[in-house]
């Protein structure tokens, strides 16, 4: 067979590649497979949401089954069951909220320590006295300080915070979460933590000091 033809160029031969066409059956199969694979991809994308939901669901089911054993009735069907389920969900959410709150308190105490503000929350009077000693040492070289001292006249259920200001007071605009206790040369007390981050940054210095009540 004479294969060589003087009129045929490389470009003509390459057109043979373009002429290769799949059948309509091929495209039918192709469309079907593509649709299936696209759906599978979508399911994979949302699978992590499902994992979390499944975990929560399992936890609730476990609580319900414990309650079922305790109460001896089918809680899934009764109104009591619904109440227990709601309470369980509330409990889980509360735990999450508490966990987050603990985190934020820890963060706040770190900031307070860095700013040389001593936390007085849930401290006994004796501890506060110790703190005051340390505070006095810190304040020896500075006029701007927060003093915490022991006061026998006050109820011992409360930690006592006495704030003294040596220098003149200034009128300042207080943050909404802070209640001014004293301004100027006066004393007052509070057992609550000066816990506002905004306060720590804004009012540590200059002179006016404040605390907020949380009775």
């Amino acid at each position: 067979m004479n294969k060589k033809n003087s009129n045929i160029r490389l470009e003509d031969l390459l057109k043979l590649k373009k002429a290769e066409q799949p059948s309509s059956e091929f495209w039918r199969r192709f469309d079907k497979q593509l649709k299936r694979r696209t759906l599978q991809t979508c399911i994979k994308d949302i699978s992590w949401y499902r994992s979390i939901l499944r975990l929560i669901n399992n936890q609730i089911s476990a609580i319900l089954s414990i309650n079922h054993a305790s109460f001896g009735c089918d809680l899934n069907k009764s109104w009591l069951g619904k109440m227990v389920a709601t309470a369980s969900v509330f409990l889980i959410l509360s735990c999450i909220a508490l966990y987050l709150q603990i985190d934020s308190i820890e963060d706040r105490s770190i900031i307070a320590t860095d700013s040389k503000v001593i936390s007085v929350e849930s401290q006994s009077i004796k501890e506060l006295a110790e703190i005051n000693k340390k505070r006095a040492e810190i304040s020896a070289s500075s006029n701007d300080f927060l003093a915490v001292v022991e006061d026998e006249k006050l109820d011992k259920d409360y930690g006592v915070e006495i704030i003294s200001i040596a220098n003149k007071s200034e009128a300042i605009e207080f943050a909404s979460d802070a209640i001014p206790v004293i301004i100027g040369d006066a004393v007052d007390y509070s057992d609550s933590l000066v816990n506002s981050v905004e306060f720590t940054k804004k009012y540590l210095n200059p002179y006016p000091q404040l605390a907020n009540f949380a009775f």
């Binding site: 294969k3 033809n5 009129n7 490389l10 003509d12 031969l13 390459l14 991809t41």
Partner: protein, 213 residues
């Protein structure tokens, strides 16, 4: 026809062609925006519009229809997943081909063995007149054998080219794209595209010298 009328005719024809290109691109962009806004069923239209040329390109790169089918589907899925990132700076077609090119080249690099399996069905309306003339001079049996033989030789020759040379030949000679579009797809300059094309064709001519002048 006077010179002025001729010039006017040419310029209006060019404007029509340009408008057609712009409207095609705009049409795709409008469909893409609808998909981006949540009307995902419109994506089917884009798939139906581009599945054939995209598959053809990938098939000629990879060498067999099964792998090419898988990769074409993968390209459409990738494009669907990334469609929110498509901002319409290039045409959807170019963007899709770029994904297709990269996916094909990655596949070629990963796969150890390449085998070309050609289709038995040939659309003779797409073959050049010289080839038709040559083939019609043969009887039915000879014609079938010859086509199969040429296909095999062509496939072997294409496989001998490096992926970056192969893609340029396929996009230009088989898919009929211009140098500018190819440069955009393979992210290189037009000069590099021309140079690669020249080298690749020279190589192919050596491999296929028994069939061509």
């Amino acid at each position: 026809m006077s010179e002025a009328i001729r010039k006017n005719f040419i310029s209006s024809s060019l404007a029509k062609v340009n408008n057609l290109e712009v409207s095609e691109r705009d049409l795709d962009w409008a469909m893409v925006q609808r998909v981006q806004n949540g009307d995902v069923s419109v994506y089917d239209n884009l798939v139906k519009k581009y599945r054939n040329p995209l598959f053809s390109m990938i098939y000629n790169m990879i060498g067999n229809s099964e792998d090419a089918s898988d990769i074409t589907q993968e390209v459409f899925i990738k494009a669907f997943q990334s469609i929110k990132q498509f901002q319409g700076k290039s045409s959807f077609f170019t963007w899709l081909y770029r994904i297709g090119t990269n996916t094909s080249i990655n596949f070629i690099k990963k796969s150890k063995r390449q085998r070309f399996v050609s289709y038995e069905s040939i659309d003779e309306t797409l073959i050049g007149s010289e080839i038709i003339e040559f083939l019609t001079s043969k009887n039915r049996t000879e014609k079938r054998i010859l086509i199969a033989e040429i296909q095999e030789k062509l496939n072997d020759a294409l496989q001998k080219l490096s992926p970056k040379h192969r893609i340029v030949v396929i996009l230009h000679e088989v898919e009929g794209m211009n140098h500018k579009d190819i440069a955009e797809i393979v992210k290189t300059s037009e000069g590099t595209v021309r140079s690669r094309l020249h080298y690749a064709k020279k190589e192919l001519q050596i491999y296929l010298k028994e069939y061509i002048q």
